[in-house]
């Protein structure tokens, strides 16, 4: 099963007005490792033609990318209120 299919099993309440994680594209453009791409279990970070692409909508709020990024690009907060992933089993 591909990661995209696994992620499609999840339910979210997505906050369209607030991205709880943001990145600084200027820092990412010169990043030597892009470890976020490999660390994130929800495939939120991808490289498209060498450029880092980030989407917060699939985030499961684990906090891994905040640890992974050693270059100060990732700004990590929790979603507001009850937004974000909704686990059934957890």
């Amino acid at each position: 099963m591909k990661i995209e299919e696994k992620l499609s099993l999840l339910n979210y309440k997505t906050d369209r007005s607030y991205a709880h994680i943001t990145i600084d594209p200027d820092i990412c453009a010169t990043c030597p490792d892009h470890f976020c791409v490999f660390a994130c279990p929800a495939n939120c970070y991808t490289l498209i033609n060498g450029k880092l692409n980030f989407k917060y909508e699939d985030c499961v709020e684990c906090g891994t990318c905040d640890i992974a990024c050693s270059h100060g690009s990732v700004k990590w907060t929790l979603p507001k209120g009850d937004n974000g992933v909704i686990y059934k089993y957890g």
């Binding site: 999840l10 490999f38 994130c40 009850d82 992933v85 686990y87």
Partner: protein, 428 residues
């Protein structure tokens, strides 16, 4: 005058246990949880070991959503083509009911309801940003710009401690503090689970795995627990090694685990129903934040209270006990909350298994997260087993000679094996 005696951040096992104890002691408690309902943000194996909860909810097992009791416990090394396991089945273990296999989505919701029943005010779908500190004292919490005041705060926010970080009460987490857990919940009919795992309807199978087959320096453990009609399958991977590797996706480690021939068989025809990921405290004492301050106490995963010696993984019991001890500390110091009075929390933790275990097993990470344990051991054991069971019509050798040959063929010296093995046994 504060709005509440105590605010508890997080309705997981630590927070809800604390809230129950406080409410039972007559305190005006606010239990705040960002998941709505509680449990929807939490991820865990999960096996709850022991009976700590009976201290706040007598007869808790009667109403708690327990999936199965652990009656078959395994610890297994997986190499690319083999599995070497210690398997323990016991009717005594069944009678003792020591390991309860639970689904946290159901369990946390149940326990939070117990807190509400005990008299705590439960508010869900609310995310706390940070503690409010005034003149060196914690006077409440901040939520979306609003301040809610209390005489004391119990931080039970879990493995990703944003409140502590945002409040300047602990540094950001690093690769050495936590590992990455990834988990899948897979549907299988109850009778299939019973037959496949050789358990009855109440009995359950719980296994930890060393994923010795992983290449390129990746270190990861695995787990499989049988729920009533689902199976929890997951990995716990070292972030440090994932970073050093630099070319493996974390989710592909999970993929390799579930595709391993001896795991694939166990989940055959299962229907994946959920994918989840969560940080797992692994750093022990070295990663622990300050456990108390003027007006606050830290419990459970937020305090890094977990135990893992490779044979068993525990955390929920440590969470419950630390939550209860934090509540006790506050109850005993009602009206005189200060850094000094709350410091007694640490004494209570030291006198319990929570901090005792962390001190006794200080440095265990160097054994469990080592190439020796995760790569060399499985390979040597595989060679030994193969030599013993692959009959080739040749004169047989003594076990020591077989072991010696296995050690040599894996590029290790016998003396290294003995010293590493001794170190491992001492630490475990």
């Amino acid at each position: 005058m504060s709005e509440f005696d105590v605010i508890v951040i997080g309705a997981g096992p630590a927070g809800s246990s604390a809230a129950i104890k406080l409410a039972q002691g007559g305190m005006n408690v606010l239990l705040v949880e960002r998941g709505d309902p509680p449990g929807t943000k939490n991820v865990s194996g999960a096996v709850l070991w022991g009976d700590e909860l009976s201290k706040v909810v007598p007869d808790w097992e009667r109403s708690a959503p327990i999936e199965r009791y652990v009656t078959r416990k395994e610890v297994a090394f997986l190499t690319e083509k083999s599995k070497i396991a210690i398997s323990y089945s016991s009717q005594d273990l069944m009678e003792r009911k020591s390991g309860k296999i639970i689904v946290r989505g159901k369990f946390d919701q149940w326990l939070a309801r117990k807190a509400k029943d005990a008299g705590a005010m439960l508010v869900t779908g609310i995310t706390i940003d940070k503690l409010v500190i005034d003149g060196g004292k914690v006077i409440g919490v901040m939520q979306d710009g609003d301040v809610i005041t209390s005489d004391a705060v119990i931080v039970a926010e879990g493995a990703n401690p944003r409140v502590l970080i945002n409040s300047g009460l602990r540094p950001k987490l690093s690769d050495h503090d936590v590992a990455l857990g990834i988990k899948e919940t897979i549907k299988l009919p109850e009778n299939v689970i019973n037959e496949r795992f050789n358990v009855d309807s109440k009995g359950g199978y719980a296994s930890e795995f060393v994923l010795g087959f992983l290449d390129d320096g990746i270190l990861s453990g695995g787990f499989l627990y049988t729920n009533r009609d689902t199976v929890s399958l997951g990995i716990v991977a070292s972030l440090d090694r994932l970073r050093a590797n630099g070319m493996t996706h974390s989710y592909d480690i999970m993929g390799k685990f579930e595709e391993h021939p001896f795991i694939k068989n166990l989940i055959k025809d299962g229907i994946p129903d959920e994918y989840a990921a969560h940080l797992v405290p692994e750093g022990g004492l070295a990663s622990m934040p300050k456990l108390y301050g003027n007006g606050y106490l830290v419990t459970g995963d937020a305090a890094m209270f977990t135990f893992s010696n490779g044979m068993v993984l525990q955390g929920i019991n440590y969470a419950i006990t630390s939550g209860i001890l934090a509540a006790e500390t506050i109850l005993e110091n009602k009206g005189k909350i200060s850094e000094e009075t709350l410091s007694n929390y640490v004494n209570k933790l030291r006198n319990s298994y929570v901090l005792s275990d962390l001190y006794t097993f200080n440095g265990i990470q160097n054994v469990t997260w080592s190439d020796f344990t995760q790569k060399t051991m499985p390979k040597i054991l595989d060679s030994v087993m193969m030599s013993m069971f692959d009959e080739r019509g040749m004169p047989k050798k003594h076990l020591m000679q077989v072991l010696s040959a296995a050690v040599k063929s894996n590029g290790m010296k016998y003396t290294e094996l003995i010293s590493s093995g001794y170190r491992m046994m001492r630490k475990m």
